[in-house]
């Protein structure tokens, strides 16, 4: 591997890892902090990708307006879902959570099939970001991938700030250990969790929309990302935003370089990595919070 190939693979790994982090961050909020095993989280990613495809004609094909509209719809979707379904799951056991959220996957896939169909779609990045940057003498790198990485970094920093520096973040962290005490301090935790859930959904939908021009849009795309996101959350330490960040990047690099260096084993590398890390640190790399 020469230097520019190596650089390009590094950028790819970074971009994949950051995108993974975006999806996993929502899962960290919902699974790690609110304590609900949400198998439907991958569906939000799928819904996002299909929104990028289906909403674009409604806003005249403007990519940025599509993103904004999609995020707004996602917040509404998340809010309604929490109110209708997830708010009943917090005190239930894991089996019921798994059944309920698995049911939601089937519902979402069926609705997607009815509304948009089962075809695979490609999405063009917006004109401004469609070009490539030269890298070395002969290689080039797509600007859109850099844009995705930049967006992910911005969102990651924003979330980190909210979570660790604001009173809202303190309330969310406090709620993950003692809901009753949070209520007794005058905080409406039901509403707070509804908002957090909506934020988790919106982030996953946004990740799906950003990924659409890179990965194409296809049925079942959410399930693939779901499994790898659970791996990220478990490696990072359940409930740890920081842990999810490093774990996502780690998976990004292992997966990308695995495909180049040991293509035969690339499918299992992420899981081998998880097994090794759990042997070394059974609770993941970082503590919650």
């Amino acid at each position: 591997m020469d230097l520019s190939t190596f650089l390009i693979q590094c950028l790819n790994a970074l971009q994949y890892g950051l995108l993974l982090y975006l999806v996993a961050m929502g899962l960290t909020l919902i699974f790690g902090i609110m304590g609900v095993i949400n198998l439907a989280h991958g569906s939000f990613y799928m819904i996002g990708a299909y929104m990028a495809f289906a909403l674009a004609p409604m806003v005249g094909g403007n990519f940025y307006l599509t993103l904004i509209l999609g995020v707004v719809l996602a917040v509404v979707l998340g809010y309604v879902l929490e109110w209708a379904f997830f708010s009943y799951l917090y005190d239930r056991d894991h089996l019921q959570q798994v059944l309920m959220t698995y049911g939601l996957i089937l519902v979402f896939e069926e609705l997607r099939s009815i509304l948009v169909g089962d075809d695979v779609h490609g999405i063009q990045p917006p004109e401004l970001l469609a070009g490539t940057l030269p890298l070395g003498d002969i290689m080039t790198y797509p600007v859109y991938r850099l844009f995705v990485s930049g967006m992910c970094i911005l969102l990651a920093l924003g979330m980190y700030y909210v979570f660790s520096r604001t009173r809202l973040g303190m309330m969310i962290r406090a709620g993950s250990v003692n809901r009753e005490m949070v209520q007794s301090l005058g905080i409406d935790i039901q509403f707070l969790y509804r908002v957090v859930f909506a934020a988790g959904v919106a982030i996953a939908v946004l990740a799906g929309m950003l990924a659409a021009p890179i990965s194409s849009v296809y049925p079942g795309m959410g399930n693939q990302v779901l499994i790898i996101c659970f791996v990220v959350v478990v490696i990072g330490g359940i409930g740890s935003i920081r842990g999810a960040f490093f774990a996502a990047l780690l998976i990004g690099f292992v997966d990308t370089f695995g495909k180049v260096l040991v293509p035969e084993a690339s499918g299992v590398l992420a899981y081998v990595l998880m097994a090794l890390i759990l042997l070394w640190k059974p609770n993941g790399l970082f503590k919650a919070g």
Binding site: M171, R173, V177, N178, M181, Q183, S184, Q190
Partner: protein, 235 residues
């Protein structure tokens, strides 16, 4: 006299077990009530019912003259009722600073005298540990943090459930000193504590529970001298 809490005929259940059998409780502004009774007689259930945490409840709860029988816990807290729970309820994954400021707010009437600085002045120990996590504190420090956190919400009433439980004698003295300071500042308190001498000496009125019923209530001094008290407390 204006009441903070006026609860009448309170009943509460946990599943199928009927814990409170019709209790009346009044707390007026600035007043200290001692709540006595052996373990399992319904003291904590009474508190959790008044705070809205027990969902299976019946009877009327009026707060500041308004009917709040169906209110949610955060609504009751927002009206000015703070809770220092048994076991302290400190958030172990938040720093001392974060525990204090996360819910701080002026009172409904705009009172804002229990500032961050004043709380740290009252509990100098907390100042030394300001960036430690709640989970790293000793039991006494956690208790101070729990009380300080309650004060920073500027309540009209603080409910202290077993605030001195499991603490070293010197720390217990410190906690009672602070409770005295809270009373002196005009905040009403409802106190549950093993040491009933201390409770009665520090209360205006008292209430003794037996099997979910209130069997004695009145002036703390009168109850302290009542020969029936010993049998109800099993001492």
């Amino acid at each position: 006299m204006s009441h903070i809490i006026e609860a009448t005929n309170l009943h509460a259940w946990y599943g199928s077990s009927h814990i409170l059998h019709g209790i009346d409780l009044q707390i007026s502004r600035g007043e200290t009530i001692g709540l006595l009774g052996r373990n399992g007689m319904g003291k904590s259930t009474l508190i959790r019912t008044v705070l809205g945490h027990v969902k299976q409840r019946d009877g009327q709860i009026r707060l500041f003259g308004q009917d709040k029988s169906k209110a949610k816990p955060h609504e009751i807290a927002r009206l000015g009722v703070a809770y220092v729970p048994e076991g302290r309820g400190v958030f172990p994954n938040l720093t001392v600073h974060e525990n204090l400021v996360m819910a701080a707010r002026p009172s409904a009437t705009g009172r804002n005298d229990w500032s961050y600085d004043k709380v740290l002045q009252t509990f100098p120990r907390l100042k030394e540990r300001i960036s430690n996590l709640g989970g790293q504190l000793s039991g006494g420090e956690q208790q101070m943090l729990s009380i300080g956190r309650a004060l920073m919400t500027h309540p009209e009433l603080i409910i202290l459930d077993e605030a001195t439980e499991g603490l070293a004698p010197l720390i217990v003295e410190e906690i009672w000193r602070v409770i005295g300071e809270i009373r002196a500042s005009g905040i009403a308190t409802l106190i549950v504590d093993r040491n009933y001498h201390k409770v009665l000496a520090n209360s205006d009125r008292a209430l003794v529970l037996q099997k979910g019923l209130s069997v004695m209530q009145g002036e703390a001094a009168a109850i302290a001298n009542d020969p029936k008290l010993a049998s109800y407390l099993g001492v």
